[in-house]
Symmetry: C2
Subunit: 173 residues, 2 copies
């Protein structure tokens, strides 16, 4: 829920940071309450107050809180990791999805193989397994990749290959 | 590989955009070649030239190309989706990881159950399955979540619940 510091005597965190008077129509006030000064400081450092103000004015009022929160998340990620920011998370998650998908395919193949050996006439069991496998094959996985491509995968792969906990001891080559 | 427009007569894309002389020590030139004008335009619109320059000066030269590329990726994502930017991708990928992990757990449980019914004395098979299950249980999944939390999950979940292809027809409640 967006705060509304206009109703209190305190200027919003943005106006306090920028040392300006917080007017009733302040674009920042509903999303940067005075009790969260770091939220605005981070967003300001990474995106700049002017860019954030422009962006908020270009989107619908009911989407502004989500926009501010996603900007704050990106800003915090960039401050923690100046080189990769939250794009590092996308790279790690994409590789995790690929690994889980491969593992699921292999496990389903094992299940089909053992089931067809153990119950040669049980078509109900193999049909059930077939349904489960088809949920994750091809299309939906392709859609998420088409929508969020990582054009610089090789650099991030190298960067994450040695020191990231996600890569430690997973037993894959 | 970073380009180096200093060696040509053309100013880099940043200096051309900012209408300034591209000097030999230009911080932007190696990463914003004149043949990619949109790369700088996007980054400038979202982060601002001054913030990008500051960020590049704060990190090691051998990491600057990766930093510019991740900034360009974030900027493009924010221009395509002004409300969620690339944080939308993180949210979708995180839910995909959770779904795949649940599916893998269920498939492994099926495999263990059918195998123990079909081969009551085959400890080699159940040990093999146990190893596969332990690869993805608990710790590594927890690590990626601890490192990249999504503090505003509920809003994004609502936003993505109806119209995203990732959610279409997956058969889950």
């Amino acid at each position: 829920m967006a705060s509304s510091s206009n109703y209190s005597n305190s200027p919003c965190a943005a106006c306090k940071f920028l040392r300006r008077k917080c007017l009733p129509d302040c674009i920042f006030a509903p999303y940067f309450p005075p009790e969260e000064p770091h939220k605005f400081a981070n967003v300001h450092k990474i995106f700049g107050a002017s860019n954030v103000s422009k962006l908020l004015n270009e989107i619908q009022p009911d989407q502004r809180e989500d926009a501010v929160n996603s900007l704050a998340y990106e800003a915090e990620a960039r401050l923690k990791d100046p080189v990769y920011g939250c794009v590092g998370a996308i790279s790690v998650l994409q590789r995790q999805v690929i690994r889980l998908q491969k593992e699921l395919d292999a496990t389903n193949a094992d299940l089909m193989r053992y089931a067809s050996n153990a119950f040669p006439g049980n078509s109900g069991l193999t049909n059930q397994m077939g349904r489960r496998m088809s949920q994750y094959s091809g299309s939906s996985f392709g859609q998420i990749y088409d929508q969020y491509p990582t054009p610089y995968t090789s650099s991030w792969d190298n960067s994450f290959s040695g020191d990231h906990p996600d890569n430690a001891g997973d037993g894959n080559p």
